[in-house]
């Protein structure tokens, strides 16, 4: 499971800029050295992905040489029944697990941020565990559990397992949003004779919506991208896209794999910034 890293809040930068004025030859050299290093780092970060995308358009089957531009591999992909089925399964799993985990995750976030109760600290820890536990450990524990109960492995077991890790991720995002909402809004509603129920639905909930949508999109991406837990909790006929890609990748390097990978990259590169934008939206309130 990927650990979600919240980006640190940017503070003002007067500290470093103070040294900008002293422009000796040495500091100039030092600065360009750092910039060069950072440039190298960003190339390291993007080169593999860019090459992969580039060669998904290569007419030649081999990455040895570039023989021309083509959409053939994408066309082949859309004709492939197994991939269409995997896409269908992936969408069923991601959509169902997102809906369930967003509802449950939002409910638990409200409970955790509004109320104090017995065993809250221990429940907080339990809520955090699915985020930090290695995927392989979570995968085999769910497999062992389903097999012990003689449950038939399939789409349902995958969905149930995805919800089990996604509740925690949704909760982290919605709770952050919940904590940032000023409680005086609800108090003001109370002063205007709104009862608690009205104050929540009319004031707090609308403010919470960007966080909920952000959490839902994040959960959707995690579910769409998950390989390890899906692989262990899936049965015959319930292959999802990452599981399909994995078996393609293990067999060999083909342009079809590159094309499919490019489409998957495109999906997460669109959904995640959208999730971030929603999470940050209305932060000025």
């Amino acid at each position: 499971m990927t650990t979600q890293l919240t980006s640190p809040t940017p503070t003002n930068n007067s500290f470093f800029s103070r040294f900008k004025g002293r422009s000796s030859l040495g500091s100039l050299l030092g600065r360009s050295l750092f910039s060069g290093f950072a440039g190298f780092f960003y190339i390291f970060l993007y080169a593999p992905i860019v090459l992969l995308i580039l060669f998904s358009f290569n007419a030649s089957r081999f990455p040895t040489n570039w023989t021309g531009f083509t959409f053939d591999w994408y066309r082949k992909l859309f004709d492939n029944y197994a991939i269409a089925l995997a896409l269908k399964n992936s969408l069923i799993v991601s959509l169902s697990s997102t809906v369930i985990s967003t509802i449950i995750g939002t409910m638990v976030s409200i409970a955790m941020e509004r109320y104090r109760f017995k065993a809250k600290t221990s429940f907080d820890a339990v809520l955090f565990l699915p985020i930090i536990i290695p995927d392989i450990a979570m995968a085999i524990m769910l497999l062992a559990f389903f097999v012990l109960l003689k449950v038939q492995l399939g789409l349902t077991t995958i969905i149930v397992s995805h919800v089990a890790f996604n509740i925690s991720f949704v909760a982290v995002i919605v709770r952050a949003r919940m904590a940032s909402i000023d409680s005086t809004f609800e108090e003001a509603a109370g002063d205007l004779y709104a009862n608690e129920w009205q104050a929540f639905w009319r004031v707090t909930f609308p403010l919470l919506i960007p966080g909920i949508l952000g959490g839902a999109l994040f959960a959707f991406t995690l579910s769409l991208d998950d390989y390890v837990i899906t692989f262990f909790t899936s049965g015959p006929g319930s292959t999802t896209l990452p599981v399909r890609i994995y078996s393609m990748v293990k067999r060999g390097i083909t342009p079809e794999t590159n094309a499919l990978s490019t489409l998957m990259l495109l999906a997460s590169a669109t959904l995640l910034p959208l999730s971030l934008w929603l999470q940050g939206k209305g932060d000025e309130i």
Partner: protein, 288 residues
């Protein structure tokens, strides 16, 4: 602000809000966790399957040199990955902290974007580059640096590379946060005392950002130690780590109780790491 529910209505609201998650996490997380912990102490049946009899054999078996070697390799790969991430990540964090506030956020986003994309595909991309007929070998041969392709894939080095690529952002963010939060007056003081920039860095900046380095190291070490996809795709059976050993026990080897015992060991290491992480966060909080 959180409140203690007093009225009956509030107590009902709390129960309704909590019960779905308590239910789901108990049935589909806590009980499976308990099952795996229990499996580690039972026996494997003669024809696969399991026999419910308490014993410690699975843990004793792990002491076999074969498994200790894999444990050692996991530890070694995770440590080298952490150190490499620090060497690669710290200068980037430093550079990032020097950017003006506006461009800084753009560079941060640019860094996070690949980090969020599909893990399997990011790892596959390196397979695509490193394999025998891959781009890197082709390029090196084209410019005449080598005469025949190098074995790059299926080595410990390839696994380290894949893991650094996957987790280096986990090192950069805490280091960056530490660097941005530095007290500027301390650096001015060092400059006033005629320390040059190298000396200022070694005596002031570096010691003060150690909490960030510790957090980052744990954020890289923990997922690297428990890795499964990276050693599977880039190690190809030649650089197996603990994750692969667990997968084999639940797959081809069919020894679930032993696999459960290894998972338990992995989770203990991971929990210990997380505990250290939170402790380092707390010490950071005290410092700032």
């Amino acid at each position: 602000m959180s409140i203690v529910p007093r009225t009956k209505r509030e107590r009902t609201a709390l129960n309704v809000l909590l019960s779905p998650s308590v239910f789901w996490l108990t049935i589909f997380f806590m009980i499976p966790l308990a099952v795996i912990l229990a499996y580690g102490f039972i026996d494997r049946g003669t024809y696969g399957g399991i026999v419910w009899k308490f014993q410690l054999d699975n843990y004793i078996r792990f002491a076999d040199p074969l498994y200790i070697k894999i444990f050692g390799r996991s530890l070694g790969i995770a440590v080298i990955t952490t150190i490499s991430s620090l060497i690669l990540g710290y200068p980037v964090a430093y550079w990032l902290a020097k950017r003006p506030a506006r461009s800084r956020n753009a560079f941060l986003l640019l860094m996070m974007l690949p980090y969020w994309t599909n893990f399997v595909i990011r790892t596959y991309a390196w397979r695509f580059i490193l394999y025998r007929e891959g781009i890197l070998n082709q390029a090196l041969m084209a410019i005449g640096l080598i005469n025949e392709p190098l074995t790059l894939l299926y080595t410990n080095k390839a696994v380290v590379l894949g893991l650094v690529y996957a987790w280096v952002v986990g090192m950069i963010l805490p280091c960056y946060a530490s660097l941005v939060g530095l007290d500027q007056s301390l650096l001015e003081a060092a400059q006033d005392l005629y320390a040059n920039s190298v000396r200022t860095f070694l005596k002031v900046t570096l010691p003060l950002t150690i909490p960030g380095i510790v957090s980052g190291s744990i954020l890289v070490f923990v997922p690297s130690f428990g890795a499964f996809v990276t050693p599977d795709l880039l190690g190809g059976g030649k650089a197996d780590m603990i994750g692969n050993l667990i997968q084999q026990q639940f797959g081809s080897a069919g020894d679930w109780p032993f696999g459960a015992a290894i998972s338990t060991i992995l989770m203990i290491v991971m929990l210990f790491g997380t505990f250290l992480y939170f402790r380092s966060l707390r010490s950071q909080g005290l410092q700032n």
